[in-house]
C-alpha cells in the first residue's frame, strides 16, 4: 500500500546510514559541531551588529511590544486570520471531498469536470484569483462582503489541494475494503460513506492538518484585499508606529508559533502508531469461530 503522505517529519534518519560512531568519528562529529555552531553564531552576530548599528536593537523600539494594547490590536488580526482560515477549511474541505469522489467517479462526465477543475485550480496563482474576484465580480454586478473576497478565491484553490489529499487516501486504501462493502449488500454510496471514507479520512488526517497550515499562510493575502487579518494589521500598525522591522518580525513570530503548533500536531499524528489505521484495522480481526469452513 502506498503512503500518500510524506513520511514522519521529526524522526532521526534511518539507523543504518552510519555505524555507532567510534572514537575518531566522535571527534570528527565534535569538530563539525563546533564549526557549525561557530558559523551560525557568526551569522547571528553579524545580523545583530548590522541591526545594532542602525539602532534597531534599541530598547524603546521593542518595549511597545510588551504592552497589552499592541498585542490586543494584533490578536484581533489573528482572530480574523482564524475566521478566514476556518471558513476556507470548512468550505474547501467539503468541496474537496466532493471533487475527490468526483474524480474517482465511474461516470465519465463527472470525472472529467472534477479533474479539469482540480488541475485548473492547482495551477493558477491565488493572487490572480483574488484580483479576478476583486475586479471581476463587481463588473457582473455582484459585490460580496470583504471576508468573502478572500475566502472564495482561497476556497477555490484549497479545495483542489484537499481533493488531491482525500483522493490519495482513498487510493491508498486496500481494494478489498470496497469489495467487502459491496458484497455485504451495501450500495455503492453506502460503501463509500460507511466503509471507504471513514478509513481514508483517518489515514490522511496528518496531511489534512498540514494543508491547514498552508491555508493559514494563504490567508495572509488578506493584506491585498485589506481584510483585517494578522499581516494586514501588522501593516497598519507599522504605518502608525514606524517600527517596520519590529512589527513584521513580531507578526512573523506569531505565524511561526500558531502554524508551528499545527505542524507539530501533524507530525504527532503522523508518528503515532495509529490504533485504528486502515492497515492495522484489517489485520487484527481474527477469523470468527463461526466462519464457514472453505473445504
Amino acid at each position: 500500500m502506498t503512503t500518500p503522505t510524506t513520511p514522519s517529519v521529526r524522526t532521526a534518519p534511518t539507523v543504518s546510514l552510519y555505524d555507532e560512531p567510534g572514537p575518531r568519528t566522535r571527534r570528527a562529529i565534535r569538530l563539525w559541531s563546533v564549526v557549525v555552531v561557530l558559523a551560525l553564531a557568526g551569522l547571528l552576530a553579524a545580523g545583530l551588529v548590522q541591526f545594532g548599528s542602525r539602532g534597531q536593537l534599541d530598547a524603546d523600539r521593542w518595549t511597545p511590544f510588551l504592552s497589552w494594547p499592541i498585542w490586543q490590536y494584533l490578536l484581533v488580526g489573528l482572530w480574523g486570520t482564524i475566521q478566514a482560515a476556518a471558513l476556507v477549511a470548512v468550505l474547501g474541505g467539503a468541496l474537496g471531498l466532493l471533487l475527490a469522489l468526483g474524480r474517482l467517479s465511474p461516470r465519465r462526465p463527472v470525472r472529467w469536470v472534477s479533474t479539469a477543475y482540480i488541475e485548473v485550480a492547482r495551477t493558477v496563482p491565488v493572487l490572480l484569483l483574488i484580483y479576478l474576484m476583486l475586479f471581476g465580480l463587481p463588473q457582473l454586478g455582484l459585490d460580496l462582503p470583504l471576508i468573502w473576497k478572500l475566502v472564495v478565491p482561497l476556497t477555490v484553490a484549497n479545495s483542489a489541494a484537499f481533493a488531491e489529499i482525500v483522493r490519495a487516501g482513498i487510493l491508498g486504501l486496500s481494494r478489498g475494503q470496497r469489495e467487502a462493502g459491496l458484497s455485504l449488500g451495501l450500495s455503492s454510496a453506502q460503501t463509500t460513506r460507511l466503509v471507504v471514507l471513514p478509513q481514508a479520512l483517518r489515514f490522511v488526517t496528518p496531511s489534512l492538518v498540514t494543508q491547514l497550515v498552508s491555508l493559514v499562510k494563504d490567508t495572509s493575502l488578506g493584506y491585498i484585499v485589506a481584510f483585517t487579518e494578522l499581516l494586514y494589521r501588522g501593516q497598519v500598525l507599522s504605518s502608525f508606529n514606524h517600527l517596520l522591522i519590529q512589527t513584521f518580525l513580531v507578526v512573523t513570530l506569531v505565524y511561526l508559533v500558531f502554524n508551528g503548533a499545527l505542524s507539530t500536531l501533524a507530525a504527532r499524528l503522523r508518528a503515532r502508531p495509529s490504533r485504528r489505521s486502515p492497515r492495522r484495522a484489517a489485520a487484527p480481526v481474527p477469523a470468527p469461530a463461526s466462519a464457514p469452513a472453505l473445504d
Binding site: T6, P7, R10, A12, P13, T14, S16, L17, Y18, D19, P21, T25, I29, W32, S33, V36, V37, L40, Q50, F51, S53, R54, Q56, V120, R122, T123, V124, P125, V126, L127, L128, L129, Y131, L132, F135, G136, Q139, L140, V213, V216, K217, S220, L221, Y223, L231, G234, Q235, S238, L244, I245, F248, L249, V251, T252, Y255, L256, N259, G260, L262, S263
Partner: protein, 214 residues
C-alpha cells in the same frame, strides 16, 4: 481584444520576468534544498537541528510576510538589495524548505540494503551520501520536486504585491486601464497554466528517464 496586441511588448517583458524569476529561484531552491536535506540526515546533531529549524521556519511562515519583511522592513536595518533580486532570494530560501522535504521523503525510499552495501564496500558517510543515497533519492523525488517548482512559479505572482513588475502585476496594471478584468485575468491564468503544464510535463519526462524500478 486589441489592447492585448497593443501592450504585447510590456506583457512579454513581464512574462519574461516571471520566467526568469522562476528559473533563478528554482535553481537556487534546488541547490539549497538538497544541502538542507543532506544536513537533515547528517550525523552532526547541531547540523540536523539547524536544518530542522530552517524547514520549520519557512514551512510555517507565509511567503508574503517574508517578502514584506525583506522588501519594506529590512532596509531600515541597512540591508538593501535591488527589488527583484531580493524577491528571488526570498523565494529561493522559502521554496528550498519544501525541496528539502521532498528530497528527504525521497531519501526514505532508498532501500536499507543500498546503504548497508555501500558501507560494506567501505565508503565513508560523505561518499555514501554523494554516490549512493542522493542520486537515488533525487530520482525518487523528481515528481514531488516538480510540484514544488509549480508552486514556486505560482508564488512568483506574490512578487506583484511588493512591486515587482511580473506577469500578475502587469496584467493588473493593464486591467486598471482597460477595465476588462474577467478577460484579462483569465488570459493570465491560462498563461500560468501553460507554465505549470510545461513544468509538469518536464518533470514527468525526467521521471520516466530517471526513475528506478524497484
Amino acid at each position: 481584444m486589441d489592447f492585448f496586441v497593443d501592450s504585447a511588448g510590456p506583457l512579454a517583458t513581464a512574462l519574461g520576468t516571471t520566467i526568469v524569476m522562476a528559473l533563478v529561484a528554482g535553481a537556487g531552491a534546488l541547490v539549497l534544498g538538497t544541502l538542507v536535506a543532506a544536513a537533515r540526515i547528517s550525523p552532526v546533531p547541531v547540523l540536523r537541528g539547524a536544518a530542522w529549524a530552517y524547514t520549520q521556519f519557512f514551512v510555517n511562515v507565509p511567503l508574503l510576510a517574508l517578502l514584506i519583511l525583506a522588501v519594506f522592513a529590512l532596509p531600515d536595518a541597512g540591508l538593501i538589495m535591488p527589488l527583484a533580486p531580493t524577491t528571488v532570494l526570498v523565494l529561493a530560501l522559502y521554496e528550498a524548505a519544501y525541496v528539502a522535504e521532498a528530497v528527504r521523503s525521497g531519501v526514505n525510499t532508498v532501500g536499507n540494503g543500498q546503504i548497508e552495501a555501500s558501507r560494506a564496500l567501505g565508503l565513508t558517510l560523505g561518499q555514501t551520501l554523494r554516490l549512493v543515497v542522493l542520486p537515488q533519492s533525487l530520482r525518487a523525488a523528481v515528481q514531488p520536486i516538480g510540484n514544488v517548482m509549480i508552486a514556486l512559479t505560482m508564488n512568483t505572482a506574490l512578487a506583484a504585491a511588493v512591486g515587482v513588475v511580473e506577469l500578475t502585476s502587469a496584467v493588473n496594471k493593464l486591467n486598471l486601464v482597460q477595465a476588462q478584468p474577467i478577460l484579462i485575468f483569465t488570459a493570465a491564468g491560462l498563461v500560468y497554466m501553460v507554465l505549470a503544464l510545461v513544468i509538469g510535463l518536464g518533470a514527468g519526462r525526467l521521471e520516466r528517464k530517471a526513475a528506478i524500478v524497484r
